[in-house]
């Protein structure tokens, strides 16, 4: 019997090593795998490469990884925010490498990795600073930039329900990067609000088929704990 469920966030991230590349889902408050990130921080790792839309807000999640100086490089679309002070400090001190990628190209490059494509010609960013030095081509009258897939060793994502085969459904805009990051990482770890029996998820409504998910960790939402 295959059971991908893992009892704790700590156990789920136990084999991540120094220097690993890690995709972290989430957009704003929605879909951030906070408990997995906390467990990752507790590992005390160094020199991580993080792929995520933002570089952290406030004190939790990716921002905490920044504060603890665990990240050597971040690939993201929007690092600067009102409360991204931990990233800001590292950046100004030259202690972190930033690869800035337009958000849609970030999504497309992650998807290309999951889909086994070698590269894609995308129109986004053509003629801008973010395409400087990159190969470009005019195809049927439109200009495109050649962009390469982004793979990762691990993906940490948040979903709503999962089963022991790793099938996932998400909740509202918390879906965001989860499905494509699960496809692009060698090991995808999903924290879910609930693990349901096999067959409980509608096979027409499964968003991430279990083949893309290696570990599922039940993390009851704080709101449910408080209730």
């Amino acid at each position: 019997m295959i059971d991908k469920s893992v009892a704790s966030a700590q156990a789920a991230v136990a084999d991540i090593q120094d220097g690993a590349s890690i995709m972290i889902g989430g957009f704003g408050t929605a879909g951030m795998p906070d408990e997995l990130i906390e467990a990752l921080i507790a590992r005390g790792l160094r020199d991580l490469t993080v792929i995520s839309n933002n570089a952290g807000n406030g004190e939790t999640g990716v921002a905490a990884l920044m504060r603890e100086k665990r990240v050597r490089k971040i690939i993201c679309s929007f690092p600067r925010q009102a409360d991204s002070h931990h990233f800001d400090a590292l950046y100004h001190a030259g202690e972190i490498e930033l690869e800035l990628v337009p958000q849609g190209n970030l999504a497309a490059r992650i998807q290309a990795a999951g889909a086994g494509l070698g590269a894609i010609f995308t129109p986004t960013g053509f003629g801008t600073q973010l395409a400087e030095g990159k190969e470009t081509r005019n195809i049927d009258g439109r200009d495109y930039v050649l962009e390469y897939p982004i793979h990762a060793d691990f993906a940490l994502i948040k979903a709503q329900q999962g089963d022991r085969w790793g099938n996932l459904i998400y909740r509202k805009t918390a879906r965001n990067f989860g499905p494509i990051m699960a496809m692009a990482a060698k090991t995808a770890i999903a924290q879910v609000a609930e693990i349901v029996p096999l067959g409980a998820l509608d096979p027409e409504a499964v968003v991430t088929p279990g083949i893309f998910v290696q570990r599922v960790v039940p993390i009851m939402p704080a709101s449910a704990l408080a209730a």
Partner: protein, 216 residues
């Protein structure tokens, strides 16, 4: 002259959005356009974080932290709305399926270039988000901005001096002093607020604004 305030600008843009349009409203000023769309018409609001068919802001206390727009503000979902992941969302945009994007900008050039992501100031941390995707992300891309900076310089320019977000992608610029077309033919005047003349518009922008489209 009767300069439009931000609400009036939003209402002006809303007037040009037809029923049935699929629309992405950028963060900031453009988000206000939603408040002026006719409630009795089906206009489909998309947000690039993965939602189509957004409704108005939720009542206080009913916010859901997992139902937000690209500006990370709580929103609602209309009956008939749906969710999707980031790759599908940006495919929607990049693939030209949206009809209209409305963006804010630092500068727009007469030929439709836009600069809205980075001031280029030394030491500034760059952050692009979906700006470059949005700039090419619909059949028509509108900009909504004040025509002049606080120090009186035109933001509608011959050539952008800020780092570009996209090239030749803007078709229309809605400002507090009037509405302008931009593109391969250069900039033209669509309307001006009462008391702001063609000559003043040309002098303020330093552009040879075509006035042929201006309704008499």
């Amino acid at each position: 002259m009767e300069r439009l305030d931000r609400k009036a600008m939003a209402a002006r843009v809303a007037r040009d959005i037809p029923e049935g349009a699929y629309v992405n409203l950028g963060i900031g000023l453009p988000t206000m356009v939603a408040n002026y769309l006719p409630a009795d018409k089906d206009i489909f609001l998309q947000s690039e974080n993965g939602v189509l068919g957004m409704g108005p802001a939720p009542a206080p206390g009913l916010e859901d932290p997992e139902l937000i727009n690209a500006g990370k503000q709580p929103v609602t979902l209309l009956d008939g709305g749906c969710f999707f992941h980031h790759a599908d969302s940006f495919a929607m945009m990049r693939g030209g399926h949206l009809d209209i994007c409305v963006l804010g900008a630092f500068q727009v050039s007469a030929t439709g270039d836009i600069a809205n992501w980075h001031t280029g100031a030394p030491g500034a941390i760059p952050a692009v988000g979906g700006a470059m995707d949005l700039a090419i992300g619909a059949k028509q891309i509108f900009v909504m901005m004040e025509l002049l900076t606080k120090s009186g310089e035109s933001k509608l320019v011959e050539r952008c001096t800020y780092p570009l977000t996209g090239i030749g992608c803007i078709s229309r610029v809605y400002t507090d002093l009037g509405t302008f077309s931009v593109g391969p033919q250069g900039a033209g005047i669509i309307d001006l607020v009462p008391g702001f003349s063609i000559e003043e518009a040309r002098r303020s922008t330093g552009l040879a604004l075509d006035a042929a489209q201006l309704a008499a």
